[in-house]
Symmetry: C2
Subunit: 344 residues, 2 copies
């Protein structure tokens, strides 16, 4: 039961169009169009007949034609570093949950944490003339910035907030504050030899680290010693490896802040393998408060980032903007919550 591929270059023969429907009903195409898009402009009788005919013929509107005619694509482009990352799948879900019911399509693109790729992607995405764009992070290349500026569409920058002026709108949290909060918490708990494990080391991770180190410095602690970072992407396994490195290099470390929960899981597993008791011998904390953080043994002290809410709020802002509805604030800090659990 093989299907022929739509032969390249065929000018759409065969497909049912608006005018096919119009002809079948015996009205103008405009009436059919109105019946679909502005039902109140068409008499009830006709509307019913048109609806029946559409069902009968199996007519499916052609979005490209509509887009061309209206200059609105009903599409929101979303630029994120990585799809296969739980953090972003939560954010994306928030975006979808808002956009889909309002008949907006979501066009996802993946930068793999590269500003160069981001530039190419943004330029490619603009080809589709999305009605708006939701893009991760405040930092971008000059050219990306210019492209977005020139596109003159609503933009929501997500994930982080605060340290820089957004192009247009902005929803996120302060990663510096998140790091600082964790630093203050651990220092306040009385830990003295406090370390940091960082993977990926993108802008937001760096800001969390900076906030963390600032807090340690303010508490009068040596914040340079127990620092292990890599630019490799986060995995649970890598978290374990880095924790092993930490314990080898600094057997006296008392507490470790991992740059995210996955890394923290790996660190906990590694400590378990070494029969280190958590938190009495070593304390461990994470960031994000993913699904597993509350379940793992010991349960993970972490910082909850409102991931789903970031996506949802960003999409809501976008929708409001597109409908010309009033917007109270174009910069929204959704805040963080320290989740104190067993691991520290």
């Amino acid at each position: 039961m093989a299907h022929p591929p739509s032969t390249p270059g065929n000018r759409s023969k065969g497909r049912i169009t608006l005018s096919d429907v119009a002809r079948a009903v015996g009205v103008s195409t405009m009436t059919v169009s109105n019946a679909l898009n502005s039902p109140d402009k068409v008499s009830e009788l006709l509307r019913a007949r048109i609806k029946d005919t559409i069902a009968e013929l199996g007519y499916i509107p052609n979005r490209a034609a509509k887009t061309l005619a209206t200059n609105r694509t009903q599409t929101i482009a979303v630029v994120i570093p990585s799809i296969s990352n739980t953090v972003f799948s939560n954010v994306i879900k928030g975006i979808y949950d808002v956009c889909t019911p309002l008949n907006y399509e979501v066009l996802l693109a993946n930068t793999y944490y590269s500003l160069q790729k981001e530039e190419d992607l943004v330029s490619k995405l603009l080809t589709q003339h999305p009605d708006g764009m939701i893009i991760t992070g405040l930092d971008m290349s000059d050219r990306t910035h210019k492209l977005l500026q020139a596109a003159a569409i609503p933009i929501v920058q997500i994930m982080e907030v605060g340290h820089q002026q957004p192009i247009d709108m902005n929803v996120g949290i302060s990663h510096f504050e998140a790091g600082k909060t964790m630093g203050q918490y651990l220092a306040g708990k009385g830990y003295r030899r406090i370390g940091f494990i960082g993977t990926q080391m993108d802008c937001r991770t760096q800001r969390r680290m900076n906030g963390f180190l600032t807090a340690l410095a303010e508490a009068g602690l040596d914040n340079e010693r127990y620092l292990i970072t890599t630019s490799d992407p986060s995995t649970i396994k890598l978290g374990g490896q880095l924790m092993a490195d930490m314990l080898t290099q600094h057997p006296d470390v008392e507490a470790v802040f991992c740059n995210n929960d996955d890394v923290a899981y790996g660190a906990i597993y590694e400590c378990q393998r070494r029969k280190l008791r958590i938190p009495s011998q070593i304390a461990i904390t994470g960031f994000n408060d993913l699904d597993g953080a509350a379940c793992i043994n010991p349960s993970l002290t972490t910082i909850k980032a409102p991931l789903y809410e970031i996506g949802k709020t960003a999409a809501e802002l976008m929708m409001k903007r597109l409908k010309n509805q009033p917007i109270e604030s174009t910069q929204i800090d959704l805040g963080i919550t320290l989740k104190q659990r067993e691991s520290a």
Copy 2:
């Protein structure tokens, strides 16, 4: 620095078009179009001038117009049950990695495991006239089936394979075999009171369960007793709860096959809390072989589903079909691997 939303209904004033470029260079629009799409049809000199002018004016092609003219959208629609699920984010990554470099857009849609939603989604997606569709599962409503049939585009059904004729192409694994393999493994290990914990209970989970129960029956074991299922979506927490139920209802259970790794993590954590030794007191296994399976303590015996490869292979099949390249087989079983680790 706020942007005005693109006013609804404005007929695209202001945007640079092909003819703007053509006028600036002093050639016909067709020459500019060729310079972009069939460079070898345009003299080198002209090509360079056109390229410069495009950069200078900041021209961005309008995809909708191209789509309308060529009747090809360069878009692949992808229908999955859930985006915020690690399983599917791996599959999706495979699809993106193939499609993006070839300039195909990916349009994602989410059924939330509902066949009714799937029907609506498919019908909505067809509005965009994707060049092809990748859709999860072999089961679908009659109407969905008809819609896809009528769309006459290449279709790849993914995730499962074998028990039913696909509409067009098919890439996946046999979930029945996966369940059976695990059943045989546990029975072969000498476990006698073997249980199953199932969440979500979608078609594929059910087939895994059936395969599992078949294997137990073949081994002469009572396969009905130690069975706990729910239609709630999988979470680590839920895995823990169901494991708690299992241990309460059947304190004598020796081994438990969890319908996926997340649930298995929860089960392991729950056993840890109850100070049950794994696998000596209770064996636990999962399905998928996610990132954490090899890292958790004890490491999780599970079945590796080639998730990324399913996405990649499906997308490759699709691309071949769209380029009219020969396809060896339209039904591909990528097979499973039992990952024997510490937990069973």
